[in-house]
Symmetry: C3
Subunit: 169 residues, 3 copies
């Protein structure tokens, strides 16, 4: 009898640990996914960038709306993006704030696009980024990324607050 009771306590502690570890893994995996965007896009690795998104994922950035991996890969291969790489650029995304809710998640971060030119390096753009993510069979993927330049447009600031509070758009 005593053994059975203790055993149930062990089962409960194991289950609690498994849930806590899974939560940490989810948060870490999403942070790693987003941390790989900048290095991959600056290397021009179109396939790997596209794989960060879900098959039907979207990327909506000022004046440009992409849907699906082909669209995203095409942006990386486009003349404007390849021109950035040729001159030197850094897409630096800041640390993400992540809210995980079961099999979906919301994340938010700032990003900077630093460009190299004749007079050295400049901040070409500072951007607000809101992500929704979904758990797929083989890991987390981006469902929607919405990005707006922080140039005074209200929408950009709203994205940041919504993401930090874990709200969908």
């Amino acid at each position: 009898m005593e053994i059975a009771v203790e055993d149930r306590a062990v089962q409960d502690r194991l289950a609690a640990l498994e849930a806590r570890v899974r939560r940490l893994e989810d948060s870490e995996e999403i942070a790693q996914l987003i941390a790989s965007y900048g290095p991959l896009v600056d290397d021009g690795d179109a396939e790997s960038v596209a794989q960060l998104w879900d098959r039907r994922g979207s990327y909506d950035v000022d004046g440009l709306s992409m849907t699906g991996r082909d669209d995203i890969a095409a942006m990386v291969r486009s003349r404007p993006h390849q021109g950035l790489i040729a001159e030197g650029c850094a897409h630096l995304l800041g640390p993400v704030r992540v809210h995980v809710d079961g099999d979906s998640a919301v994340a938010v971060c700032h990003s900077l696009l630093i460009r190299h030119g004749d007079h050295g390096f400049v901040v070409h753009r500072a951007t607000a980024n809101h992500f929704t993510l979904d758990r797929a069979a083989d890991g987390w993927r981006i469902g929607c990324r919405t990005s707006r330049a922080l140039d005074g447009q209200e929408r950009a600031h709203l994205l940041l607050g919504a993401g930090a509070r874990g709200e969908h758009l």
Copy 2:
């Protein structure tokens, strides 16, 4: 007898895991707390920014000393801060180095204030940030944040080293 011995070994492994998971959770929760400052302050969400601090928490930044959540919320609502948002700005805080010691912690990071203006984006300020944090009933909160512009003043550089070594100020 054999069962009892094994059971003690299971208890020990469970306790060790629980301690390790709690350490990871503490570190992650503090990183998430600090990662939400920039997005919230750039959205002008005064209440949510203030809630990152302990009820009696302080924020000491060059030439401005705030104590308690009302002071911090007032800074977010102030004309100068609202002016930054209206023109476009990004408070980008870098990844934090965190030292947790029981129910208190020290964290450190750089931050950049990027502003948008007539000639595009500029780095308005690079800042050293030292945090002390305390575990409250409902999670970690900032006790003291001390920030100094990295404009050559010795104090700013000292803050960074102290924080990286887990030292209080």
Copy 3:
């Protein structure tokens, strides 16, 4: 008999948890190690910076190749680096993407060197950073750090992609 079976299940769950927690700890420890570089180097703490590397670790940055902790500490104490600190600077490293494989790891991140001068703050350099790390008796240490300015040189962009895919150089 039933107890023995259940016990084996408990052992398996404990072992699985221990492996998952260790993976999270490895990733977190490496992120923390790299997050301490900027604050320590901006404080001029030569000894602590050198300790981030393995005894035989190397740091290869455009035009400068260092091997061993003495070389790295000497760079921190050098007149050029001390000059940066005296005028005000921020070595801000972005969030790292880490791949751990047993006792070795690859990590990648962008970094910015922000300098203060007569006309305020400027982005002096944006850099690609590729790290290999090894697990030592007392924790993870940097084996090789390879850094190249993102000024249009192809090598810098290749470093980023390799690191993001977990490849050695």
